[in-house]
Structure formats: C-alpha cells, structure tokens
Subunit: 419 residues, 2 copies
C-alpha cells in the first residue's frame, strides 16, 4: 500500500499539471472503452454475479452489482458529461489589490490523492475515476470484494484511456486485493493520501472516522424532516411530502419524519394518510398522531413509533409522524434527530421561514421544496462525488470544484514587509 | 474529557445563534478584564516563570511564557480589533436561481467546536478564544503545562466576560490538567470536536496527525525558497531576500533557501553575501555556490551545505544557497524541499513567472515580493488562527471566515423533483 500511495502521489503531480484537453480526451476514451469492450466487462461482471449467487446473496444485492448494456451505456454517458463540465483547476478568484499595491488572488489546485472506499456498486469505479481525472486528482480505489472482477475490467479500461492520452495510469490506482486489512492501511496512508471518501453505509463511515489519520468526508446518510407549519398550503405540503417520501425512498435525501403543527394536524394528517398511503407508505406515529390516525384514518398502515424510530434511516416506504406545539419544538426535534442532511419547512409565514432557515443547520435546508433536490446534479454542479454532512472542507453536494483546494498568488514590484 | 466535549458542543449550539452585538460585547469585556485584572494575571504568570526558572529552562523559553503590562495591553488591543471585524456568521454567498425557479444560496455557519493544542505562549489562549467567539465556534483549549497558572487566570477572565454577556462559559472550555494523556483523549473526541488546530512545532503537528480521528490543520512550518531568475532586477532581489531572511528569522514565512540561476550567480552571490552578511546571515552553499563564495566573498560566513540542510527549517539567520541551470531545475528543487508554505520568484520574464505561479503549489506563491507577507494581517484578513499548508478546508492564513462552514438554503414554491 505504501508503494501504491507513493505512485499515486507521483501521478497526482503530473495530473495536476495536465491540460483540460488531455484530461477530457482521456474521459472520452474511457466512455469509448466502456461501450467498445462491453463483452469483456459483462463477462467479468458475470463472474461476480455467479459468486454472489453461489454465496446466496439477496436479490437486491445481486441487482446492485449487476451491469448490463443499458447500465454501461448510461455510465459512459455520465463520463462524457463530466468531460463537458468546466475544468476547475487554475480558476482564479477572490482577487484584490491591497493598499500597498500588492495584488492577491486565489488559484484553484487539485487536492492531491483521494482514497475512495466503496461497496458493491461497480459504477462508482467509473464515476469517481472520471471526477478525479477531471479535477486533476489522483485516486486510490478500494471497491467491494463482491465486484473485484468487474472492477478489474473497468480499471483496465481507465488505465488504457489514461496511457493513450499521455497521462499516468497510477492516477487511478486500484487496490487489487480483497483483504479488509488493506482498508485499514489505506486509512493511515497520510503521507500520500489527502482525503478519504467513503461511499457506503453507516458502518463504513464509522470505520473510516474512527481509524483514519486522513480527513474523511462524512455524509451520504440522512434522517430528513419536513415541518408542515400551521400556515402551510396543505396541497403544496402533500405534493412535497409525496415527492420526498415516495419518488425514491432508498436514497439519503428521502423524507424520514413528517413534523406537523398541532393546529392543522387534525385536518392535515388524514389527507396525508390517504395521499402517501396510496403509494404504500406506512406511518410510525407519536401518541397524538396515532390518536388522529385511529379516529380519522383507521384504514391507513400506521403504528405507534418506538423511541428508536426517530433515529432510524428508513430507506423504504416508512415515515415517522410527529406533532409539535410550536416552531420552537419543531426545530428542537429536528436538531435532536437530524443527521444534518436535508431538512425542510412548508410554510407561508415569513418569520417562521426565516427562523427555520437561520436555526436549522443541516447541509441542505429546504423552504417549500422537496428534500429530494439535495443532489449535485439538481443543484447545477454537474456531478457529485458525495454529499457531505460535516462542516470541514465542503458541505452538501461535492462536485468538481469541491475536489479542489487553492493557493494564494501574491504579485508585487519589489514589495518588502515593513516593521 | 467526554463531559468537557459534550458541554462545549452544547455551548457551540448557543454561540452559533448569538448575535454579533453580544459576541462583540463579550470580546470588549475580555479586553477590559485583561487590563483591569492586570495584577492577578501577572501574579499567576510570575508563578509560571518561577517554576520554569527553578526547572532551569532557557532564557528564550522563559521569555516566551512571560507576560508584562505592555504585552497584556497589546493582547487586549488585538481582542478589540477582532471585535471590530465583520461577523462571518450568516453571510450569504453563491446565490443562484435555477431554470426551474428554485432559489439557492449558501449561508455561513460556524464549524462547531475547535480543539486547540498549543505550547508555551499564553497569548494564544486569548487570541484563539477571541477568534472562536467572534466566529461563533466553541473551543477546547489545551495549553502547555508551563503556563497553567497564567492560562487559568486568562480563562477566568474569558469566562466572566462570556457570562456577563449572556453567553455560556463552556464556549471557551479549558483542559485544566497538565497530564499529556488528555491530549490523546482530545484528539479522539470526534463526537464533539470538529477541527483540531495545533499551534506549535513539527513534533506537535506529527502527534496530532498520527493520533487524531478529527481533521487536523497542518501548517505553521516552512522551508521557504526564493528563486532569483536570470532576468531578475538584482537590487530588487537583494531587498526581497534581505527582508525575507532578516526582518524576523524565527517565523514560518521567513526565507530558508535562495535558489539562483547560474547565469547571474557569479555576479549576484557576492552582492548577496555582503548585503545579508551585514545582518549576520551565514550561508550553507551547494558546491558551485561554495566555489563562488570562496573566490568572491571569502570573508562571508559560509560553509558547504550538508544534504539535510535543504530540509531544515532554520528559524535563525542561516540561509541555504543553491545554484540551478534552469527554471525547471528551480521548480523541481522547490518541489522536493518546500513544506508548501511560502515560495517566491524574483523575475522580469513573464513566461517564467507564469510557469512558476502555475507549477509551484505552496499555499503562498510570491512574485517579486517578500515571503514575509504570508500572514492573515498582511493579506487583509484582520487576524489569523493558523497558516494552513494542507489542501483540505482552508489554505494559507486562516481568519474568521476560514473558521466557518456553510449550509445550502433552497427556496421553492412547492417544487418537487421530477422523474
């Protein structure tokens, strides 16, 4: 791993100086390789599927690691899209001329080497490689052991594309070893790796945070709330809740718990039970909500919420329902249970909206809009490597720019510091 | 330490919502406390001096921990200056309206809890407390055991000032325990602490990087180069080298090694030997420079450079002298030996300047200006908590704004995500 780290760091220096045209050409070559060597990739993927099936893995798990022509063409399309995005490296910003005549600006540079640890989705191999190349960062990829054959085939395409365009293959380094000890080694390669990006569940993030001597991007998990204020347009609230809960319940920006003001609960909850219930949502209710459901929506799929339910990331068609007496109580409840991902308010009261936006510090705060928008593509970043819920470095969707740092450039005319 | 962490995190929530007026009032109360309770502080400081003297500590060490009326009034003045700086919390930036009508902006929020580990300068206690309070961050301070009495007195003034202005005392938490085991515990309080800021030498930074599960700001050390190009105005180069090496040799932005193009070395080095030699600079020369010194500046204080000299942070009136054949060799040499702090070029060749600025990735890159400008005050940030040489989060001088993160605020009118 030390050798891998040293090689990646060396490659990062070269990639940092590479021109946009060369990086984009390598990306287009990756896209061509994906479609041109479709059969090789699918054959490798078939071996992974075979192993997973033999091990008796669940169908959803097999689905996650499965590639097919349609999926590969979509991945290739994403790579071409990254090639079209502006190159952040070299951008100048915050230019200023000081009173003494010194001219300052900041100039974007890559972060260096990204260590990316992920699980069973082989598309991550290509997604991350493309974003890293475009942003001038080398990366060390450690994918799941279940997809080792697929990943080998994908990385070999990346390596060919890099070499064909005069870029070092080690810019996308691959841990071709399924021993989990390699993860622990990667987490301590602080002499070579600048940032760890875990792509996976809570256990993986915890492992990284506890063991890494390198900064770790925490994110990708959400217990998300939408507070329906007394002043809310109830039809708007129903549309937003439906979208946030039902459109794609398995993702980190989906709704977890609906928080409803007591003043409208009696009126609103039965409508919500019908609208979301049609899509198969089941509800975990606090005592007051449970009482309203019992009286006005007895046919809904509902039950009393257990204390742990408020801190559960459902990733399915389950929603908590909490009734509060005030905006203060709503904000306190959200602060207690949010994972700082995506929390929103539906309200027509400007003072309530202002307080909610000031006091809820999740990485995405939504006013009269679905939490499902918390996404690099939806925010106009073009692509994303992760959604960060921590406060160091970048927060929220991390696109190409969030994979850069900067240097200060100071230009004078013989300036020396007085004193 | 867990209790200290939990209390600091709770206080951070309150401080994050505090108004600018309250925070500034607390800062002014700290400044008043410093001058109003001068005798208490100096009595506590006298105990630290007495202990250090009894332990036979060196005079420079005693000087570093010594407070006196002049120093305390200067520290109080710095606190008042922080009170006058703009409050970064709540600033909006990067506002955009998307094609679908969603309005996005980013809003600055504090980082949370800063863990600050420092050595024998008691002024750091007040400097950091002031910057943390103003930026809405709680902090946990762990100062050196040599200044425990001074720090207790200073922290008690901070606590009084906070309490008198309705802010929680735990916003500035103090590890009142000189056992070094507390440092290791602090470095692993990742449930409560968001960022570790070490203020001290290489050993402290290494300790933090190797043992912390929390992101660490690396910085405050520099092996800094100035490349004197063949096209340089030699008088300008002499002024810049003199300022960078001589004005304050004990700091991290002072000059380490002069890199000179071979085409002017024979002419330039004797002038440099005279100009810097007058101030007592001694030179560690590569073989070619040594030959020129021997022939043209035999009275200068010079000797052959040992290999390790190029990687030594002198912090004194010593300068390395390296002759190169080309700009490429200069950049490669700087890349090999710089600590990414402050590196500069003196040149009148625009192509050389452009290549130097593009390819040297130190946190501060200087063109025809002294490296001594790499400083938050000099850059117009008002104050600084550290100079970061790493690429995660902020880079270069870190002022109030660099102690913040942001949230995305997304405002719609019933927007839901299609698809």
């Amino acid at each position: 791993m030390t050798l891998l780290g040293a090689q990646a760091k060396q490659a990062a220096r070269i990639l940092a100086r590479a021109g946009t045209a060369d990086k984009d050409a390598a990306l287009r070559a990756i896209a061509e390789g994906l479609t041109g060597r479709l059969d090789d990739i699918l054959a490798a993927n078939a071996r992974d599927i075979e192993h997973a099936t033999a091990k008796g893995m669940a169908p959803y798990f097999i689905d996650r690691l499965t590639l097919n022509e349609k999926r590969l063409r979509a991945i290739a399309g994403d790579v071409l899209h990254v090639a079209e995005l502006p190159d952040p490296v070299g951008e100048s910003f915050d230019a200023v001329t000081l009173a003494n005549g010194l001219r300052l600006h900041k100039r974007r540079i890559p972060l260096g080497v990204l260590g990316v640890i992920y699980e069973s989705r082989p598309n991550v191999t290509i997604d991350i490689a493309a974003l890293a190349i475009k942003s001038g960062n080398a990366c060390i990829l450690r994918g799941g052991s279940e997809t080792i054959h697929s990943n080998r085939a994908l990385v070999s395409i990346v390596h060919q594309a890099l070499a064909a365009n005069g870029l070092p293959r080690e810019a996308v380094s691959f841990v071709d070893d399924t021993d989990r000890a390699r993860i622990m080694e990667l987490l301590r390669l602080s002499d070579y790796v600048d940032l760890i990006i875990p792509r996976g569940g809570a256990a993986l993030h915890d492992l990284c945070r506890k063991n890494s001597t390198i900064p770790v991007i925490t994110g990708g998990m959400g217990i998300n709330h939408i507070y329906v204020d007394e002043s809310a347009d109830q039809d708007m609230a129903l549309d937003i809740l439906f979208n946030a809960k039902v459109q794609k319940p398995t993702v980190c920006n989906a709704l977890g718990t609906v928080v409803v003001h007591c003043g409208i609960a009696e009126d609103f909850l039965p409508k919500m039970a019908r609208r979301l219930g049609q899509a198969g949502v089941s509800f975990r209710c606090d005592p007051r909500a449970h009482d309203i459901f019992s009286r006005h929506a007895p046919d809904a799929d509902f039950q009393p919420a257990a204390p742990a339910d408020w801190d559960t990331e459902w990733l399915s068609l389950v929603a908590g329902v909490k009734i509060v007496d005030s905006l203060d109580e709503a904000i306190a409840f959200i602060e207690a249970h949010s994972m700082d991902h995506s929390d929103g308010i539906v309200s027509h009261n400007p003072a309530h909206i202002a307080r909610f936006v000031n006091e809820v510090d999740s990485c995405g705060v939504f006013v009269n809009a679905s939490t499902r928008f918390n996404d690099g593509g939806q925010f106009g970043l073009g692509a994303e490597v992760a959604i960060s819920t921590q406060r160091i470095h970048a927060r929220g969707p991390m696109g190409l720019r969030e994979l850069t740092s900067y240097k200060w450039v100071v230009e004078g005319n013989g300036h020396v510091r007085p004193g």
